[in-house]
Amino acid sequence: MSETRLTAPEQLNNATGAQLYEEAKRAWRAGAATLLLDLAPTRDMDSLGGAWLLKIAGDMRRRDGEFKWEGHQEAIADFMTMLEPALQMKPKKPPKPPGLFDSFTDTLVNFVGEFGEFMGLCVDTLYWTAVAPFEGRGFRFNAFMEEAHEMGVRAVRIVCLMNFLLGLIIAMLSAAQVAAFGMQIYVADLIMIGFARELAAIMTAVVVSARTGAAIAAEIATMKVQEEVDALRGMGINVVQYLVTPKVAALIVVLPCLVTLGLVSGVAGGALWGVLVLGFRPAVWYQQTLGAAYMSDIMQGMLKTFFFAIAIALIGCHNGLRVRGGSRGVGLMTTRAVVMDIFMLICIDIVFAAIFYYWLE
């Protein structure tokens, strides 16, 4: 076994530390299995010098070599005591990202686990919203009203504006397509049917998920991070009853109302284009629109919104409650909630489209 003895400089700083590192390098190139550092001459050491010392020890241990030191004096004894654990251990590599197979199984396990949690939340919410109030276990009516105001009344302007603009866009688009056939009056039908069946519900739900879904996730995630959720639990208050139920109930009530307003503003947007640009008399456009308005279409569009409301509220709460870590976790979970919201909206919509346009035709 070969041992190489190095003598430390009197002042261990950046320059002398680098020198010492070069000497050490030469030593292990020459095949030294053990480095013995004689610290007897050293009187003083600064941070960069200490860092070089750690670098020598670390590189030595990475080569499965030994690093020892001896003879340190009073002046740097404190340093050596504090550095001892770091000098003794092999520097750890940052943990590696998992491989392909591991990450696949991890994903699967995580997905199943998360799905279970989500189902649990659904069942709890169902109980605390639809059953518990009738058993006399309470419903936070004031919170429900506050949420309904925040989610509904304060969203009216943006929902109406977005639907109005979408109505305009659809009118422009379709009028240009059918102009060659002289069938521009049917744009009124298209807009009425389109908004009643799909567009009002989807557009409104997207606006609401970006607005309310994100807010729910961020609020609950922040509460969780700051241990407010634990505080609730510690008081013996059910988190689902206290936080989730008022939000779900409020959104179920409020979203259909918003969609109704969205429907009216979308049709109004189309009418604006039809009357001002396509040049129809208002009464003609009005009659044509009414002729295309079927209750069944409107009801079909409305039915979806209840499912949208439940999805947006529950996904927001679910992601909020799953948060880990601090501020970054809150951001991640909020993003995730909105992405999942919009994905779920489309999924629900596809199911409804399949039922109403395929099986029930």
């Binding site: 941070s47 200490g50 860092a51 654990p85 770091a86 251990m89 970054r328």
Partner: protein, 255 residues
């Protein structure tokens, strides 16, 4: 080099209409552990925020190495702040980075540290606060005391000549708190750093403080060594250091 590192003269500060600091003056000597104490809400943390330039005073002077922090522009202030270290009450670690990355951040951002040496310097600093094994953990995985020490490691990342530490031992058990005080004493000796510490732990003061500044209702009540507190002529100072309650609380408890 000048012996005085900080000299505060007639510092007045407001939160809106409310006057928090009312004519505070004191000096901090180079290389000492200077503790700022006082009851809750007396303006300790506010004073600290003014010292490190996070807040601007209404009037008064804060001389740091003979330049006034109160009138610096943004660039000068940043320059000054690069030369000091601040450890916050709730540690202020970035949650999205590992402990090691947190400590490396000042080195990489403005430290001019040789890139090959950053990792070892990080391990050196973490060793000084006894966290060598925690380099790759996330702040969320640390206990309260470890987080405080990690915050301290980040504060001393670039060997600042001055470190501000807000409530080092708040929320720690006595052993951990004593360990932290011991660590501060060692760091002061090893790196010859000046520490300005806000605290209300009497034990820390007795163990580590060179000099103490006591604030009360935004005014300086006392400034001197720990020994001098025992013989102070001011009743309130002796009351604080002998840990006696106010009269009305005692009576309130009896009735």
């Amino acid at each position: 080099m000048d012996d005085i590192i900080i000299k505060v003269t007639d510092l007045v500060a407001h939160y809106g209409e409310f006057k928090v600091l009312d004519g505070v003056s004191f000096e901090v000597k180079r290389g000492e552990i200077f503790m700022i104490v006082g009851g809750s809400g007396c303006g300790k943390s506010t004073l600290l925020k003014h010292l490190c330039g996070l807040m601007r005073p209404t009037s008064g002077e804060i001389l740091y190495n003979n330049t006034d922090v109160a009138v610096m522009d943004a660039d000068e202030l940043a320059e000054m702040q690069h030369g000091i270290g601040i450890a916050f009450q709730s540690s202020g670690l970035f949650n999205s980075m590992t402990v090691g990355e947190n400590v490396a951040m000042p080195m990489r951002e403005y430290g001019n540290v040789d890139k090959v040496l950053v990792d070892d310097l990080v391990r050196f600093k973490l060793s000084l606060v006894g966290l060598a094994a925690a380099q790759h953990l996330m702040p969320g995985e640390l206990s309260g005391g470890m987080r405080k020490r990690a915050g301290l490691a980040r504060a001393i990342a670039l060997d600042p000549e001055l470190v501000y530490f807000d409530e080092p031992s708040a929320g720690l058990d006595p052993i951990m708190a004593a360990g932290l005080d011991d660590m501060i004493l060692k760091l002061k000796r090893m790196l010859s750093t000046t520490f300005v510490i806000v605290t209300h732990e009497l034990d820390s003061i007795r163990m580590a403080a060179d000099r103490v500044l006591m604030l009360d209702k935004g005014e300086v009540l006392f400034c001197g060594t720990v020994e001098e507190t025992k013989t102070s002529s001011i009743e309130r100072v002796r009351q604080f250091f002998e840990r006696r309650p106010d009269e009305f609380i005692t009576q309130g408890n009896l009735s």
